[in-house]
Amino acid sequence: MSLGVSAIGQGLLYSLVGIGLFLTFRILDFPDMTVEGTFPFGAAVACAALTHGASPIVATLLSLIAGMAAGAVTGLLTTKGHIPVLLAGILVMTGLYSVNLRVMGRANLSLLHQPNLFNAAWLKALPPYFDAVAVGVIACLVIVAVLIIFLNTQIGQAFIAAGDNPAMARSLGIDPDHQMLLGLVVGNGLIGLAGGLLAQNNGYADVSMGTGVIVIGLAAIIIGEVVFGELTLSQRLVAVVLGSILYRFVLLVVLALGFNANDLKLLSAIILALAIMIPQIDHRLRIKRTLRNGVKANG
């Protein structure tokens, strides 16, 4: 029971990574590598702020702002510096490693005996592990609702169009560079926020906690797509949240089967690869089945 609740809580908090990545990877249609630096950056900023006496709410907001700043740097390197977005993301991710060490002053910063968001009295009153579920549900509800409203505004529609067909967007007066910058700022802001929340939930920030986080985010997106199929854009945001929770349960099952916890990153990568391949395999099987049935029908 507690393992399941913990998986839901972690899934909800990590789903913010998936939602942040969804904006760039699925709507704007490019891979953003900044996330592997942004996630620990958000965690480092939140933990450093808490150890310097900031309130948990302020520390959490700072993790959001830190992520947005990192996304802005990648965006400016791409749009103004004309560095390909993949490379710009890798550059910022690499640079953030040193920044994170500077922010924390060391490789690992513990929140032992520090007040944080999860120490709030009303969360303490909940059964074990339900605190992460409660914070995750609130964060997801607010963020998904705000994004759904945004995507249905005039600027939101321009944002979708810029990802769908940049040349067409430009011909309608929409600057795809502005939309790319917007996506990177908001997306990385959410990922920084996820880092800040998870650091508080886990009780520490670590300089290497970003390794593989892009796989976790992509897994949430792709598992959501594989399981729930054709959806509207707004529904797909909810599917990312559910995909993130399902991914946590898949990991639980894998570990329950006796795999070594040290192999978790490898297993995560394999799960993601399988999730990506399933629709392709299913598509090919359907074609074969249709052809076979066609041959039978024609005698």
């Binding site: 505004t153 005039q154 939101g156 529609q157 979708i160 067909n165 430009r170 309608l172 600057d175």
Partner: protein, 251 residues
Amino acid sequence: MAEQLKLDNVAVNVVADNTVKPLLSGIDLTLAPGDYVAVLGTNGAGKSTMFNAITGDIEVASGTITLAGHNITHEKPEKRARLIARVFQDPKMGTAPRMSVAENLLLASRRGQRLTLASRGLKAQMAHFEQLAAQTGNGLEKALDRPTESLSGGQRQALSLLMATLKRPELLLLDEHTAALDPKTSASIMSVTDKLVTQEHLTCMMITHHLEDALKYGNRLIVLSQGRIIKDFNAEQKAALTRADLLDYFG
């Protein structure tokens, strides 16, 4: 003559292998409001380059471009979008494939406008879009909720055309917009094009390789060769032209 579009000594160059190669040289062209100009020329003559210079997708080396009283020579393409609409050869280029037909039309209805965080207001426009889409005569009005990528090439090009004219442009550029379509669909799209351009009295330039279309549609015809305008026929001269006359320009 009132001037809607004026290209004054426009030149466009590219640098290849450390040498400057002219793509357009000394282009002088003036269009009156409502001019409907067919643009002919061999491949590489500079037709699409001239369109790219007008839309700002390529920088001019010298000369000025004035449209509806605005000097747009050095404006960014997205800023020029308030004045210019373009339909491309490839039906996929002018639409957002994963967005619905209605969403594409909605975006086009705000071409060149400053966008805000106000609601997109799609529902209020649906009846209007249905009426517009019905004009194309190819069932587009029944596909308003469908993603654009699910449309046929003809439907998608009809949508591009509607999008280009939904908010009246100061200049409509048609860049071989029927070249990728089968003959029947091409004829149908040309018929819709002619209706929209003449009814709305739009200023329009249309690149085409269909000599019959160049002769049939529009009140002017220009021929480009090696980056220069070598012939400019007015309505009267154009009416006297034959297919054989035009073939001479294709050497």
